[in-house]
Subunit: 232 residues, 2 copies
């Protein structure tokens, strides 16, 4: 009746789940998934104190969700493994199916704003090859600079109105942001439709596109990711 390795394994799995068991850490993880980032910037984006952010990041590092490397004075954190996106996706999928509140929020907030099906990654890839589409990255400029879909233009939240005249109303627009639960691309699509554009959201966000191996670019030479030649 050997005790077996199950107890040890389940203790590890539980530690991993526990690391995901805080809204602040989930938010930080979403930010880290956008690309390598320092503690201060993450703290600002998540609305937490720097010391608190540091502690959360270190717990996630201990648990294997993120890794850290030093770059000059700052420490850059990044997602430890692409499979973690699959885990958070599974988490939100189960939550949508079994938690009534989640389904309510999703319907009230998301479905009302975007009744149309999101564009799949493969679909967008096809259209990009044919040049039939305009892709907008609705994230803040620094996240765009750290990495974005090849060919996307950056229109951060609140700046859409100012850029409307730059857009061609004859071709369809696809907007994307951080991921499935990020509202920025929803608001962009909403604004665009109100002005008569044909606009839809991309399924998921930048991290999933990158993990799928589809083409990306980054600005700001060498600073964010040494070894990756920037262009665009």
């Amino acid at each position: 009746m050997s005790n077996g390795p199950k107890h040890a394994l389940y203790a590890e799995f539980a530690a991993l789940a526990k690391a995901l068991g805080s809204p602040h850490r989930l938010g930080l993880l979403e930010q880290v998934a956008q690309g390598e980032c320092g503690v201060e910037a993450l703290a600002a984006r998540a609305g937490l104190s720097v010391a608190n952010t540091s502690q959360h990041l270190q717990q996630m590092k201990r648990t294997g969700l993120v890794t850290a490397r030093r770059n000059g004075k700052s420490i850059l954190y990044r997602l430890a493994d692409d499979s973690i996106l699959g885990l958070t996706a599974a988490l939100s999928h189960v939550a949508s199916r079994t938690m009534a509140e989640v389904d309510t929020i999703r319907r009230e907030y998301f479905d009302d704003r975007d009744a149309l099906e999101p564009v799949s990654r493969d679909d967008l890839m096809q259209r990009l090859r044919n040049g039939l589409v305009c892709v907008i990255d609705t994230r803040p400029a620094d996240e765009f600079a750290a990495g974005h879909l090849t060919g996307a233009i950056n229109i951060p939240p609140g700046e859409m109105e100012a850029h409307l005249e730059d857009l061609d109303p004859s071709i369809e627009i696809v907007a994307y942001c951080r991921g499935a639960w990020c509202v920025m691309s929803f608001e962009a699509v909403s604004t665009l439709r109100a002005h008569g554009f044909r606009a839809r959201r991309l399924q998921d966000g930048y991290p999933e596109w990158r993990v799928a191996g589809l083409p990306t670019r980054s600005t700001r030479a060498g600073q964010e990711r040494p070894g990756v030649r920037p262009s665009d």
Copy 2:
């Protein structure tokens, strides 16, 4: 700059992750995934007190991981949704990739005992149609009774030696149990190979087989699942 629904959603996701963040709850969840089961039986299987088990189950019920229904004097708990198996699978997948201890345990304990690839579900399904295989369910008798692969025979832990002469050495044996981290099928395969049988493990366990929609049976008429006609 609307606050957005993200905070509310992430609070829910975190509550779900937190519910998975205890080794005992993960163990209970594995048991519940085998089929509907009462509190006392779950407590015994997990090695916990009844009151403590009840509290863990109620937290998982509040979080939407399990559901409960009354059946006479006892309350039967069951998995709330099949997608939860995908979530726990993602959890263990990430843990295997990012946590050194998990990989170590996996290699030392599992790979050493079973160097062969496990049999896939589709593969086993094929062979079952052709009658080329003997399927052994290595779980305790009550879990077997609550549901098992159609055509499987039950040889609980510790009883393998007594049943060796009932087995035909000319056909290959496939053993399965509760899931990927359950040692019972490993030990069965180990014992069988030591006696010259050709034996392999089924990929995953009974819950995944059931969720995949492949054929199952249950014994004990009506008691476990009303509406499902028992046979075998």
